[in-house]
């Protein structure tokens, strides 16, 4: 009788211990929350993650509404609204500490950069990179790299030298980054985009203007090269000067533009004046 009792007892202990000793017991998985592996291991999810980067452009402080009030009051356009304690002040370069739209623009661009970094870091590591969808994966990678470059270029236009990071943020990182000289940023990004140019197809293949195509990448590269090579007001010294290797970059700009023209993939408006005329008569540019 007693023996039977002890046998039973030990059986139970063993049963429960076997569950506990399995360290995996505490590991959890939820099918609704996706990790980096699951998101970038699946083409559909990876595409939607890149869409998430595009979506950053649609935020209210950015291209949805407020961004149009920046960089106005120049020889080309003027905002007629008076200072209103809000975004109009930014138009007139009269922002105060209460105008938090500037902070929002900064936050949104860096948020977009981080989203792009998650794609840039994870796509080459994922199963997609060498599988049957290798081309698609590379196209997504190219889009993310280009978008990152685009965000940084806007940041530089507005603030000059800014903190520069090339990887996604991890928990133990040093978050307080110093400003990086814009020349270094431009050089890195322009080179980066060269590497992904081949990944992104021409519009004739993508059949849409909603996503980045090769012409966009080349065009952005050219633009950034021009900005780098041209004169800009420097933060620390207040000099106005060109990027350090400016001759090279003028060449890059010229070459990129030439390649787009020669490719035959796009038509061009033959008259520069037409751009302004179309804009001010509210007609579409049909070329």
């Amino acid at each position: 009788m007693k023996m039977k009792r002890y046998v039973k007892f030990f059986c139970y202990i063993l049963l429960s211990l076997s569950v506990v000793s399995c360290e995996d017991y505490l590991a959890t998985e939820s099918k609704s929350t996706l990790t980096e592996e699951t998101t970038f291991g699946n083409l559909d999810f990876a595409t939607k993650a890149v869409y998430g980067v595009y979506e950053q452009l649609t935020s209210n402080p950015l291209y949805d509404y407020n961004f149009m009030f920046y960089k106005t009051d120049n020889d080309v356009e003027v905002n007629w609204g008076a200072n209103n304690g809000a975004v109009y002040n930014i138009s007139h370069y009269a922002a105060t500490e209460g105008t938090n739209y500037l902070q929002q623009v900064w936050n949104d661009f860096y948020s977009g950069i981080e989203k792009a970094h998650l794609c840039i870091d994870n796509l080459p590591k994922s199963a997609l990179w060498e599988g049957e969808h290798a081309n698609e994966a590379r196209r997504l990678y190219g889009e993310a790299v280009t978008l990152r470059a685009y965000f940084y270029s806007e940041l530089i236009h507005h603030w000059g030298d800014v903190p520069f990071k090339t990887k996604s943020t991890q928990a133990g990182d040093e978050f307080n980054l110093p400003k990086t000289d814009r020349d270094s940023i431009y050089e890195f990004l322009i080179q980066d985009m060269k590497e992904v140019e081949d990944y992104v197809p021409w519009m004739s293949k993508t059949q849409t203007t909603e996503r980045i195509n090769k012409a966009f990448v080349k065009g952005l590269r050219a633009r950034m090269a021009l900005a780098y090579a041209g004169y800009s007001l420097r933060n620390k010294t207040f000099e106005t000067r060109r990027g350090r290797h400016w001759e090279e970059y003028y060449k890059i700009a010229r070459q990129e533009c030439k390649e787009v023209m020669d490719s035959g993939e796009h038509q061009f408006n033959p008259n520069f004046e037409n751009i302004f005329k179309n804009l001010h008569t509210y007609t579409m540019d049909l070329t």
Binding site: V20, E29, N107, S111
Partner: protein, 1184 residues
Amino acid sequence: MKKKWENDVSPFKGDVRKIMLIMRLAVLLTFVLTWSVTAGTYSQNARLNLSVENAAIEQVLQEIEHSSKFIFVYESGTLDKSLKRSIYVKNETIDAILSQLFEGTDVNFRIDDRQILLYKKDSFLNTLERPDAPLVQTQQPKPVSGKVIDSSGNVLPGVAVVIKGTNKGTVTGIDGKYMLADVPADARTLVFSFIGMKTQEVQIDGKTVVNVKMVEETIGIEEVVAIGYGTARRKDITGSVSSVGGTTLKDVPVTSAAQAIAGRMAGVQVTKTEGSPDAEIKIRVRGGGSITQDNSPLYIVDGFPVDNITNVAPADIASIDILKDASSTAIYGARGANGVILVTTKGGSDGKGKVSYNTYFGVKEVTKSLDVMSPYDYVFYQYERRAVEQMRATNELERYYGDFLDFDLYKKMQGTDWQDKMFGRTGTSKYHNLAFSGGSKSFKYNISLTQNDEKEVMLGSGYSRTNFTVKTFHKINDWLTIDLNTRLSDTKVKGAGTSSNSRLYHTIQFRPVDGLMDFVDSSVTDEDFEATNSSIVNPVDQTNDDYRRVKDLAFYFNGAATIRLSKNLNYRFEYGTQYGQETENRFYGINTTNVNLYGYQPIVAITKNDIKGYRLANILTYSKRDFLPGNNVTIMVGEELNYYKRERLIASAKYFPMYIDAKTALTNMSLGTADPISTTDFPPNKISSFFGRLNYDYKGRYLVSATFRADGSSKFAPGNQWGFFPSAALAWRLSDEKFMAETKSWLSDLKLRASYGESGNNRITDDAWKKTFSITSGGLTVNGDGDGAIPTPIILPGSILSNPELKWETTITRNIGLDYSLFRQRISGSVELYKNTTKDLLIKATIPSSSGYSTQWQNIGQTSNRGIEITLNSLLVEKKDFQLSASFNIGFNRNRIDNLGEVGSWEQTARWIVTGGPAGDYLIKEGGQVGQMYGQVTEGMYSFDDFDYVDNKYILKEGVVNNGLLGGSYKLMPGALKLKDQNGDFLIDGKDKVIIGNANPKHTGGITLTAQFRGFDLSAFFNWVYGNDIYNANKLFCTAAYANYPYNNLLNEMNLEDLFSYIDKSNGNVITDPAQLAEMNKKATIWSPLMNNIPLHSWGVEDGSFLRLNTLTVGYSLSASLLSKMRISKLRVYASAYNLWTWTNYSGYDPEVDAMRSTPLTPGIDWCAYPRSRSFNLGLNVEF
């Protein structure tokens, strides 16, 4: 001989071994002692011959009986059946024979004439005095007799009646009667004692008949309380545990056990956040440590953890024990930091089966409504705001409401009382409870069925719940017992309440009069009128179109097997499981504001939640008393696994046909345009634990206990999953010490205890430690945004940076308590001091946004709570016909934010309204408290002395504070709201904010009074909260004329007599002459309501202290004698009232409110909370 015996006392001899112990003894002794009155000579004179060879004792006795008049009376088991004796005697006295027979055995005998009582030497019968022993006395002894009954009037056999100071006594018989033959004249007191009842001492006072009514031991040190993974006697516990018994709770006419405990235990603050039937009931034990996470305590019902106790019927509860300090909660490790609430449901009991039926029927009415402007004041104010603001011309108003000069007609009109239409109906409550319980020593059962049906005071609001509970206890053999417990609850809620979508302000602010439309068949169609008014809609129409049905089915099963491995060692295996399914059906019709963004067409949403959980525990308990003399120890070790998972599905569709009704839409969702269906699989919550406890005491005088628990939780990253939670406590029973001997007469018990321990809080967001992405169907489309557009979901990373280093929030508690009991527990209670520190608080630390994130969860905060709790229970009067008892508890708690890391401080916005509300209305700062309201101070209104009148404009003078940044429709002129400048810059902005209120009370508590007089019983329960402030957002919002709400009504705070007004009543023009304006407004006391942006200022923060007469019950129980004829054992009728009266200075609906609960940082806001009701009930308790 035998025959005579059989005639006289036939049921007696043969049944000796069959009758229960107590009955046996009772009858035995009654017999023995009553017969002892007659002087015994037969025994002295009788001579016997006996010749028996090697026979069993029983045989010998039978021989003796055969050959004499003697009768042997003894308990079974007294005689050793295997013992054999030989006796050869001739002509011997019985005394000698028996001495020889029982020599060397442990059997004694006592001869009373013909009866011979046999008993074992260590039986208590040994202590009764031999009736033939000589007594030293100075006067004649007298007999005293009487009858003992219990509190229901039933007779009580087996009660020991002893003459105080002696061992002389007796035991009551089956009829409850006793007889003491020789009570010495100098004996003054009789002591009546019985297990489970309060021992009573009664003065003899020369009486010959002393009858006593025994009362159950309910308060006092013999009480057993539930502690983690076991039970203990209250006198032995070393930690801080407060309890409420089921008998106290069963009469409170509320549907939820959580609500029934409000104010009954010191240090436990219970707030029903609003008056709706399914309102969240917030329970906080000793304040709350966390500032960003949930501070709810751990709820355990019969050993199984549950989300909350709202679906436990009060009638099913045997007791609720709340563990407050770490030495009692550390055994729950990672979940014990905010206290543990242990609910024990009723099991069966020994004794014959009992059927009880309880019912009540009640009515409810709303307790208060807010005064709004009268029709005349309303139209005048609407005219004025348009005239002054010039935003909407007054023509539009006059088109609907008539010419200004005719406004006097409105003075005679009665406005529609929308609050009455919404909350004015009489609600009803119906309650039925049927319970069967009973059992024997080896099987006990309790089956209970409860039904609650509530029709609430608000239109369309109702609640019903069915509870079915089965609890059985089965002792299979002497080493195995099985407990099985099943609980099923089915809850249905009807109605959407007032706080979702902020519906309440529509009731307060909807126009009281419709103007011309009431009188003429005008060309103005209803739709035009409504269209200009779409931000505030008819509340009755809106509520009728706001359909909500919730069905919540919850099933719990617990089973446990206890195996007695040896005399001191027990093994217990527990398994429990939980299934729940909650479905919410929601429909928004065309009269609700939710459809405004979706083509004004109805919307349907169905949400389903599926919950699954289980629990496995193995517990080993070793308990030895006197392993060294006086030293007792109990050791418990255990292991547990907990699992909890939820899955959710949301299906919604929009653009239904306009006039469809709710039920048709819900059953034909294809009529609408479907939104993508959202399914969520929440990560399961798993906890794996090891724990142990050691209890040691020396003679009950020095007690030590220590616990330890290791918990691993799936909410943290691998490497940080395990937390360790130790605790230790000491207690010293001062009253047992020799130096306290003189106090024994009045001090029944005094125990000093101290404890220290750690427990954790793992109620944090899931997956905060890892990088996760989630799918959102945002506004993004591909293929343009025209007809071919396809909405596409996108995948986004979390907006808060993950932190794999996250660990538990840990609370360290230190507690010192003194439990006292005076005058044989007539007065008892405790005093406690505690200090809790919660460290490693999870705070969203701000990080530079160049990282791509603006915040990250980090364990950097620390808060502390310190306080005093005092409990006092007293039995003021205890007479035969009248008892009065009172109990009182009070808790003082003060919390402090000790550390917020680098963040230092921040302002938290409650955001009770989407636009136009205050920003940064709570200040979270090191050195401050959680719940400090932050805003400007109200100075009143601007006077004419503050302005110069130049060119028909009011120009603010130098040195007068400028409130102009309020912007919008606020105009800086006399009569406008004026706030106080705090920093001397004459401008009101964020820098002028100061702390204007604190939601934390200084103290809370409750008082209970119970009285019994003959068959009547009365109980009154008061609870209070003192010293807290309430942020009256309703008042701030409903006294401002928002531009977006063109026809809103205002609270009567803004009535025309007190209001500063700008319109000339004779012609409707805006007054431009300052002198005339000043003259007209010389009696004005309240500023103009013209403002769009509402700041939080001190006028909106009010004292929320209150004293509430929470429950009042009067009952009458029919006497036992009357009932026994009907075969009913108990019948009681009663009347009770709940929330009868509240004394408070608060101007809103009710001071017990907490509307913005998504974060613990914004407590005490009254915004659109469902008004409360008071109820009156009539009930019946019957027991068969």
